[in-house]
């Protein structure tokens, strides 16, 4: 039979042309392969088994295992707490320092504003100071003056 005749006759793909099939289920080779695979994965399974049994130990053993991590966490939390407290403390200017600045300003309005922590142009500082002096007094002062008949 020629090649062409054979191909025309067998359009279906014959089994003998296909790749070799795996040995049938139950063949002894599968047992050998199974043993090889189980031996290969044994270290991984041993690791899992030990991890699994460690779940049965008492709670204090578990705490002891995490002792170092817990101590580090507690230290970090304490530092964070101290830093938070420090940042919350009011940053008041010492009154002595303010007094010295007022004295040193020697009547200069800009220096006076600077003493209060406000940078100001000399002319604007003078104007602002004059404005404050002309400002009407507070409600409480006004009522006191009225009571006194002023």
């Amino acid at each position: 039979m020629s090649k062409h005749q054979q191909r025309d006759e067998h359009h279906a793909v014959r089994e003998e042309w296909l790749p070799d099939r795996q040995p049938p289920a139950g063949a002894p080779i599968w047992d050998a392969r199974l043993r090889r695979i189980l031996a290969e994965v044994d270290p991984e399974m041993r690791r899992r088994t030990s991890r699994g049994t460690s779940g049965d130990v008492s709670w204090w053993t578990e705490i002891a295992r995490w002792r170092n991590a817990a101590a580090a966490f507690a230290a970090a939390a304490a530092v964070a707490l101290v830093l938070a407290e420090l940042s919350r403390a009011p940053r008041s200017v010492p009154s002595d320092a303010l007094l010295l600045d007022v004295v040193a300003s020697d009547g200069d309005p800009a220096a006076l504003w600077r003493a209060a922590g406000i940078p100001a142009d000399p002319a604007l500082a003078l104007a602002a100071l004059a404005g404050r002096q002309n400002e009407p007094s507070s409600g409480a002062e006004r009522s006191a003056r009225l009571e006194n008949g002023q």
Binding site: A12, E16, D20, I37, G52
Partner: protein, 188 residues
């Protein structure tokens, strides 16, 4: 048959996660042949196929924590087998280096007939190598290793209809390769 032997894959996988060797043995025994068949649809050197199957199970156990027991186990394992075999193939394993099986050689048929068979098998191999991965694997599982369509579908996570379609188109591609392709191109 013990209760472990009959347990569903997903329950066995959960036990493997806790290090249960009996459950592992049942799972490996259940899937050793399909995993070899999947690897063989990528690599035809028996040693490469065996290495890939072994690596598949090792990876599966290492990654068993990432397996979602709410989903079927077989397609998850199949995906690992596919990746392992694909990597092995890209590293340098060849699709087929023996154009004619040992069994054929052992029978010592007439030299002309032997050559002709070798040529046809080389053509079939080349055509299989050109098929899309899933199509080739579905074809090899169903037609080469004789798995039922439903079983192939379960392993690959496809519907039986899709498997039938893959097998149909693979068969058509092989028939075309055998009928039309000049012999000189068959080796590639």
């Amino acid at each position: 048959m013990s209760s472990t032997d009959a347990a569903p894959d997903e329950a066995l996988a959960a036990r493997v996660r806790r290090g249960d060797r009996d459950a592992l043995e049942v799972l490996v025994r259940r899937y050793i042949r399909p995993v070899h068949a999947v690897a063989a649809s990528y690599l035809l050197e028996p040693a490469d196929v065996e290495d890939a199957a072994q690596e598949t199970f090792l990876r599966a156990i290492r990654r068993i924590d990432s397996y979602d027991p709410g989903r079927p186990f077989a397609p998850w394992l199949y995906q690992i087998a596919r990746n392992v075999a694909r990597n092995a193939r890209s590293v340098g394993s060849r699709w087929r280096t023996l154009p004619i099986s040992d069994a054929l050689r052992a029978t010592r048929p007439e030299p002309d007939l032997e050559l002709e068979r070798a040529e046809i098998r080389a053509r079939v191999d080349a055509a299989l190598a050109r098929l899309p991965e899933r199509r080739r694997t579905a074809f090899c599982l169903a037609e080469v290793d004789g798995y039922a369509t439903e079983e192939v579908a379960r392993i690959m996570g496809l519907t039986p209809g899709t498997v039938r379609s893959h097998v149909h188109f693979a068969r058509a591609a092989l028939r075309t390769a055998l009928r039309d392709e000049p012999a000189e191109q068959a080796g590639g």
